[in-house]
């Protein structure tokens, strides 16, 4: 609209229009009430100025008025609440089948790894028209992944994964900012998200192909770090069989059940003693400090990719 004086960033995701819609509704309602108050004060000040109205009329109050101006704003607020929450819930749950990209924030750069193995620094190439889910962690302090054109933001924490997702709808190059103060070069921790049409994206993937996908790297890690010694693909291992575990409910030794998501897998690698699977001894050593965030992501990706076990095996029975 206003090319030289934009009031909002480009709309480049499916959600951006909805966020803007709510925003402008809020602006309209706020403007209405602001103008109402300003004008009322102005009118009262002039009309009832002391030269005009030397004898004030004593008024104590009015219960109907109090109720009106309590309940109407409350009602309007509930509309804002409902609308905003709906958008938030959409933002909070990535759709199934979203393309996943791992992101690592560190002082003061962004590192991205596509599931197919391509690595980027401070740039993120994505195809238009596909859901993209970011799975992110930090190597040091808290950062925040912010793309104004998509209207999304999610803090990136050390020690666990946080996720966000978006559905790009417009080709172009958009700002990526770190939005959580993280030290000296916080304002330098910026980059670009490049949205490409599907064929251009394929071409980019090919041109930037690495030796293997993320989960292939993960498979190497699985062997190198000795995981397969205990986590065998049969029932004889000292550790649970990990085939098909991702996304399933797991029963722990203290009776709790948890869902095996990325954070569970990460925690099981770095802090195995906190959640021990029922029926197994707590003997797994910790791998804290023994691998980079990138390798950890690869390992997690690999475990996610492991197929369902055959029905009737012990591990299938364990995961109910």
């Amino acid at each position: 609209m206003w090319k030289n004086f934009p009031l909002f960033p480009e709309r480049a995701s499916a959600l951006a229009g909805q966020v803007d819609g709510l925003y402008f509704f809020l602006v309209a309602v706020s403007a209405f009430f602001t103008v109402l108050i300003f004008v009322t004060i102005f009118v009262f000040a002039i009309k009832y100025r002391h030269e005009n109205n030397p004898h004030p009329t004593p008024i104590e109050g009015s219960l109907p008025l109090e109720l009106t101006w309590t309940l109407i704003p409350l009602g309007i607020c509930m509309i804002f609440f409902a609308w905003g929450s709906l958008i938030y819930f959409q933002e909070g749950r990535a759709p199934r089948g979203a393309m996943e990209v791992y992101g690592v924030g560190k002082q003061w750069m962004w590192k991205f790894e596509h599931a197919t193995g391509q690595r980027e620094i401070n740039q993120l190439h994505v195809p238009i028209g596909r859901d993209v889910k970011m799975i992110m962690s930090s190597q040091d302090v808290i950062h925040s992944f912010f793309v104004p054109a998509f209207r999304i933001k999610a803090d990136v924490l050390p020690g666990r994964y946080t996720t966000t997702w978006f559905h790009p709808t417009k080709e172009g190059t958009y700002h990526l900012f770190c939005a959580e103060y993280c030290g000296t070069q916080h304002s330098g921790m910026i980059g670009e998200v490049v949205v490409m049409d599907p064929s251009a994206y394929q071409a980019w993937l090919t041109a930037n192909a690495t030796t293997g996908s993320l989960s292939a790297t993960g498979q190497q890690m699985f062997t190198q770090m000795g995981c397969e010694t205990c986590h065998r693909s049969d029932t004889q291992g000292r550790g649970p069989n990990l085939a098909g575990i991702f996304g399933k409910q797991v029963t722990l030794d203290d009776g709790r059940t948890v869902i095996a998501d990325e954070n569970y897998i990460r925690e099981s690698i770095l802090n195995p003693a906190t959640k021990v699977v029922a029926g197994f001894k707590p003997i797994m050593p910790t791998y804290q400090g023994q691998m980079s965030e990138e390798n950890l992501a690869a390992l997690v990706e690999y475990i996610k990719s492991l197929a369902q076990p055959q029905p009737g095996s012990q591990s299938a029975a364990m995961m109910q």
Partner: protein, 544 residues
């Protein structure tokens, strides 16, 4: 209204009852302590303003060319810490509240005068520690001290400054404690709770928050210091801790803290609007209850600062809902103040001009808080200049404006002199215009995506930043002028007399400046608050 100069035996006031530095530094008179605070917080205001000036100068250009990155990061950190902990939180309570509360309730002093003096010394000790940290290297964690950056990565004087804030927190706690006990126990005969001026209700509510909330930030900052010094891994994931625990503990205080800051300001507005409409407050009980509601609800919304921090969606939903609830009592107050003017007899004196500015600017600030409470919007605008604009609207457009309103309103009582009206009105106008020019563009900047705490920014954000800096220079002039004319008035201002505004209130029934013991005889109250209909109508002549 002594405009004629006559040789008169000098009446004993709290100002001339004793001379000498010792009589001031060892005073237990709440009025003198208020002035001690006035001096301290004014100095801190200018320090915070100096940091702000450097920030705005740097942001004139997209590149980070005025200051190094580290220096800039220290500037916004120290600006926030100075303004929040050393100016805004004490401002109305410690200066105006200390002076006016005992007078307003017909008491000779606060309940614990020596504790009051101790509060000021504790403030000075805390300020000293913080200033030491600032001078010998500064601190660059942001006023929010998020971990693990503050505990494990920052190379600045985090512990010193955190301890400075820890100490000054006790000043706040003791002031709040003093106010609560005073209001409960020291009211004049006949002054029942529902005859209390709304200034008392607001300060009482703020004091509840001070007393209950501040200890939590105290222990949180102590834990940050312990983590830095002794590597206790409470908040650092590398040591097994949880950075979100820090955020929860920090915001559990720091959100109610904003109500500590705004409630006393709202109290000032209630006094000013009633006096200059010459009417009782519309909906007195509702305004009084709204203050308490804000204090209570204010404790239930802290995680709205953490919507994108990694909390669960369901948790976010609850905090969003509660955040809407806390907005309502503030809206109720705005409507009641406006309605108070209806069929009143409105005067345009400077305190009233500031009150109008407050109502307008606080409305915008409060409404933009409603934006932030909306989860879908918050995801986009949190950690951007939208939030910066929002809190400056409520803190500066609201609170500082209210503080100026209060200073102008009670200046004649405190000093016995009137300030000159024309420069005062000019300053009010400059403040209003300068403020809007500074902070309105920042809403747009935020929605456009400019993150906060950025030293350098993409070039497309420059025009709005330049506008903002221009506004800040106008605002600065608006703040400098009162310094000058208030000081001028001490020597050349017209004598004010006990009640230059012809206001209703016990503080106006004693001379200006008051004697040390406040009242020759303890008043007995038989009238309702803001009983303007039974106040004899006299023209306000002094100073015009």
């Amino acid at each position: 209204m002594a405009t004629a100069v006559q040789p008169v035996v000098e009446r004993e006031t709290y100002l001339n009852s004793n001379y000498g530095l010792k009589s001031w530094l060892l005073t237990i008179d709440h009025k003198r302590i208020a002035l001690l605070y006035l001096m301290s917080i004014t100095a801190m205001f200018w320090l915070g303003g100096f940091f702000a000036m450097l920030i705005r100068l740097e942001l004139l250009t997209p590149a980070g060319d005025l200051l190094s990155s580290d220096t800039y990061n220290k500037m916004f950190t120290m600006h926030g810490i100075t303004m929040v902990f050393f100016f805004l939180i004490p401002s109305v309570p410690a200066v105006i509240g200390n002076f006016v509360i005992p007078l307003m309730i017909g008491a000779k002093d606060l309940a614990f005068p020596r504790l009051n003096l101790a509060s000021w010394y504790i403030y000075m000790l805390g300020a000293g520690l913080a200033l030491w940290g600032f001078l010998f290297g500064g601190v660059d964690t942001g006023w929010t001290f998020y971990t693990p950056f503050s505990t494990a990565y920052s190379n600045t004087h985090v512990v010193t400054v955190a301890l400075g804030i820890f100490v000054v927190g006790f000043s706040s706690i003791f002031t709040g404690l003093n106010f609560i006990v005073t209001i409960h126990r020291m009211r004049a005969p006949g002054l029942t709770w529902n005859r209390l001026p709304l200034f008392i209700w607001s300060n009482y509510a703020a004091s509840l928050i001070m007393v209950l909330g501040t200890p939590v930030v105290a222990i949180t900052l102590l834990l940050v210091a312990f983590e830095r010094l002794f590597h206790i891994g409470v908040f650092n994931p590398a040591l097994g801790g949880d950075p979100l625990l820090f955020q929860h503990l920090f915001w559990f205080y720091s959100h109610p803290a904003v109500y500590i800051m705004i409630l006393p300001g709202m109290g000032v507005i209630s006094e000013v609007v009633t006096c200059f409409s010459r009417k009782r407050a519309f909906g007195y009980e509702f305004v009084a209850l709204a203050s308490i509601a804000i204090a209570v609800l204010g404790f239930l919304v802290w995680a709205h600062h953490m919507f994108v921090a990694g909390i669960s969606m369901y948790s976010a939903l609850v905090f969003s809902l509660l955040s809407y609830f806390v907005a309502i009592p503030s809206a109720v107050k705005v409507f009641n103040w406006t309605a108070t003017m209806y069929k009143g007899s409105v005067r345009f004196d400077t305190p009233m001009l500031y009150a109008w500015a407050f109502i307008g600017l606080f409305t915008v600030g409060g409404l933009t808080g409603v934006f932030l409470a909306s989860l879908g919007i918050d995801v986009h605008v949190t950690d951007t200049y939208f939030v910066v604009a929002h809190f400056h609207f409520v803190m500066v457009g609201g609170m500082v404006v209210a503080y100026l309103a209060g200073l102008h309103f009670w200046w004649p009582k405190i000093t016995g002199k009137m300030y000159p009206e024309a420069p005062a009105k000019l300053s009010a106008l400059l403040v209003f215009v300068g403020f809007n020019l500074t902070f309105l563009p920042q809403f747009v900047l935020g929605y456009m995506g400019m993150p906060r705490r950025y030293h350098a920014y993409p070039p497309e954000f420059q025009v709005l930043n330049v506008l903002s800096t221009a506004g800040a220079s106008v605002l600065a002039v608006g703040y400098v002028l009162p310094m000058i004319y208030f000081l001028w008035s001490l020597r050349y201002g017209k004598d004010a007399g006990p009640n230059p505004w012809n206001a209703v209130g016990l503080e106006w029934m004693t001379p200006s400046p008051p004697p040390t013991h406040n009242f020759d005889e303890t008043p007995v109250v038989t009238w309702e608050a803001y009983d303007y209909e039974h106040q004899p109508q006299e023209e306000i002549t002094v100073g015009h």
